[in-house]
């Protein structure tokens, strides 16, 4: 049936599979980080400006600190919790003020969308855009697309957190707010990492399962908001108390005030990695859509 020409094909000598695997993974990670540099800077500066404005307003707030505490105390507890002002948060200290205004409310809620968007774009987004077939035409195992993109997201997050940390600490130093140390700032920003990775892992799993970017963004986004409120309101609404351990925010704490709880840090990071593993398994066997 076949018309053989008798010519031989030229199969070039290839390096071992493992050597090439390591090589392609690092190339993939570097490439993905490079593509995200602009987002890293934009996200870092946007959140950094929030931190900067908050810290700059602290000296003025400090003078009326007790009145502010009294005002907040008069709020319904559900409302206080929903806005990230937990029981015992003292708004007259810079740590308490920054926790309530940035690190326990806006920063985790907003920054979690960075890995959600990155993970949903990595697989489902690439299929929708039509870039997946060209990329996978290369000798890349599918698990590397999942792992490499997730590693790139983690590195990108560290970049965003570094910018946020600098925008928090430098204004504090300039305004001579000495209570906010480098260590406290570093712990405050680093504590965001496991939480963000968790939602990034969840989005990666949805991206691997559903091959539609809207689902890979909306599902983790909805779970993010639900988990935030379950945890925040669980302190005051009895019915939600039992559900609190199911929320990733339950393990987030307030590192700027109390330091990082390393057990929780490691636990949430491990769950994030487990989600990525599940994503790799889900993506391994399914059809690539165009």
């Amino acid at each position: 049936m076949s018309a053989r020409t008798g010519q031989t094909s030229t199969v070039a000598a290839k390096p071992s599979r493992h050597a090439r695997s390591r090589g392609t993974l690092s190339v993939l990670i570097l490439h993905a980080v490079r593509l995200r540099i602009r987002s890293i800077v934009i996200w870092g500066i946007a959140l950094g400006l929030l931190a900067l404005v908050t810290i700059a307003s602290f000296p003025a707030m400090e003078e009326q600190g007790q009145q502010l505490n009294d005002l907040v105390e008069s709020y319904p507890p559900e409302m206080r919790e929903a806005f990230g002002i937990g029981e015992g948060t003292d708004l007259t200290t810079v740590e308490g003020f920054m926790a309530s205004q940035v690190f326990n409310f806006m920063a985790p809620l907003a920054l979690a969308f960075f890995p959600i968007l990155a993970s949903s774009a990595a697989i489902a987004g690439a299929e929708e855009r039509g870039t997946m077939d060209v990329l996978l035409g290369n000798p890349l195992p599918r698990w590397q697309l999942v792992a490499g993109n997730f590693a790139a997201t983690a590195i990108s997050l560290l970049g965003v957190l570094t910018i946020l940390g600098l925008f928090t600490w430098f204004p504090a130093a300039l305004l001579e707010i000495e209570e906010l140390s480098v260590r406290e700032t570093a712990e405050a920003v680093l504590n965001l990492l496991p939480l963000c990775l968790f939602f990034g892992g969840l989005a990666m799993l949805c991206s691997a399962l559903f091959h539609r970017r809207v689902l890979a963004t909306a599902i983790p986004g909805a779970i993010l908001v639900a988990m935030y409120f379950v945890n925040a309101l669980g302190n005051t609404v009895e019915e939600l108390e039992d559900a609190q351990p199911l929320s990733a925010f339950h393990y987030y704490g307030s590192a700027i005030e109390n330091g990082i709880d390393w057990a929780d840090f490691a636990g949430v990071t491990a769950v994030a990695l487990a989600l990525v593993l599940l994503a790799a398994l889900a993506f391994r066997r399914r059809d690539i859509y165009t």
Partner: protein, 300 residues
């Protein structure tokens, strides 16, 4: 040396909505240029994407250079250069950036051949993809498929969006690739290019491989267009009675017909008159192709 591509009962079903491919049996030899013909939706892209491991086959087996498409897809893709039928390139990247990235993934040390190909095809490597026309993206798609000199090129509609001069250049490159002993498998619905460069063609219709033949054999065994001119008007009836005659038209001394049988009977009949001229014309591959896709669904 193992065959370049071998499929046995390869089947991919998507469910009720979209037809896939059914029981495709195919062998492509090393060093061969194989044309895979069929209209849009016939199953060309499904076959290619299944061979590359993008789609999981429902049934059947396939091997590329002896490597199993299910278990050894990465090893296969190390030996294949692929141009997808429908594809996009990262908007913010330039062609140069993309080629450097792919070169690193493949362990290719230099881009000398990539630059040579780009120059020949007129690919713009220094503008971001979002500023490139479809044809220019197609050129970069072709370069990324070929720059690492893979033993097998799998190209899905490679000339789509290219202007005629670039198409010619591309076909020259295919011929050079063949001369180097490498294998090319490309799908197309442009028959002239297939006829020019392919050793063999496979025709796929509704997900089934209808025929696989050497290109010249497919054309040789097909019908012929015949034009006879005599020195005086001739009677229509004897020509009507010839076996395998279609589209007969008699205009005085001129007779036009399409002949599906060997010409022996027709020549003997014509010889009874004084013949002024005889034209016996091969159909184009396009016309052959249409017999498989005729209004009545063609024949197989």
């Amino acid at each position: 040396m193992s065959v370049a591509i071998e499929t046995e009962g390869l089947t991919k079903r998507y469910g009720r909505k979209a037809p896939g491919i059914e029981d495709v049996n195919l062998i492509v030899a090393p060093g061969e240029v194989f044309g895979f013909l069929g209209p849009n939706g016939a199953g060309k892209t499904t076959t290619i994407r299944t061979l590359l491991g993008f789609l999981r086959p429902t049934e059947g087996k396939a091997r590329v250079f002896g490597l199993d498409i299910r278990r050894e897809s990465v090893e296969i893709r190390a030996r294949v250069g692929n141009l997808p039928g429908e594809f996009a390139l990262e908007d913010r990247m330039t062609g140069e950036g993309l080629l450097k990235f792919f070169a690193r993934l493949r362990g290719v040390k230099d881009l000398v051949y990539a630059h040579e190909l780009s120059e020949r095809l007129g690919a713009e490597l220094h503008r971001p993809m979002r500023r490139l026309s479809r044809g220019n993206k197609q050129k970069i798609g072709l370069v990324q498929a070929m720059f690492h000199r893979p033993p097998l090129l799998i190209l899905d509609e490679p000339t789509g969006g290219l202007d005629p001069l670039v198409q010619e250049e591309f076909l020259d490159i295919v011929e050079e690739t063949k001369a180097e002993g490498r294998t090319v498998f490309f799908s197309s619905h442009v028959l002239s290019e297939v006829e020019r460069v392919c050793d063999r063609v496979g025709i796929i219709r509704d997900g089934q491989l209808v025929t696989v033949e050497p290109t010249h054999a497919l054309v040789d065994k097909a019908f012929r267009h015949v034009r006879l001119t005599f020195d005086e008007p001739v009677d229509r009836e004897p020509f009507e009675k010839l076996r395998g005659v279609e589209d007969l038209r008699v205009e005085g001394p001129r007779v036009f017909l399409t002949l599906h049988e060997a010409p022996d009977e027709m020549v003997k009949l014509a010889a009874k008159h004084r013949l002024v001229s005889l034209e016996y014309e091969r159909p184009t591959l396009e016309e052959v192709f249409l017999t498989y896709y005729g209004a009545n669904g063609g024949h197989s």
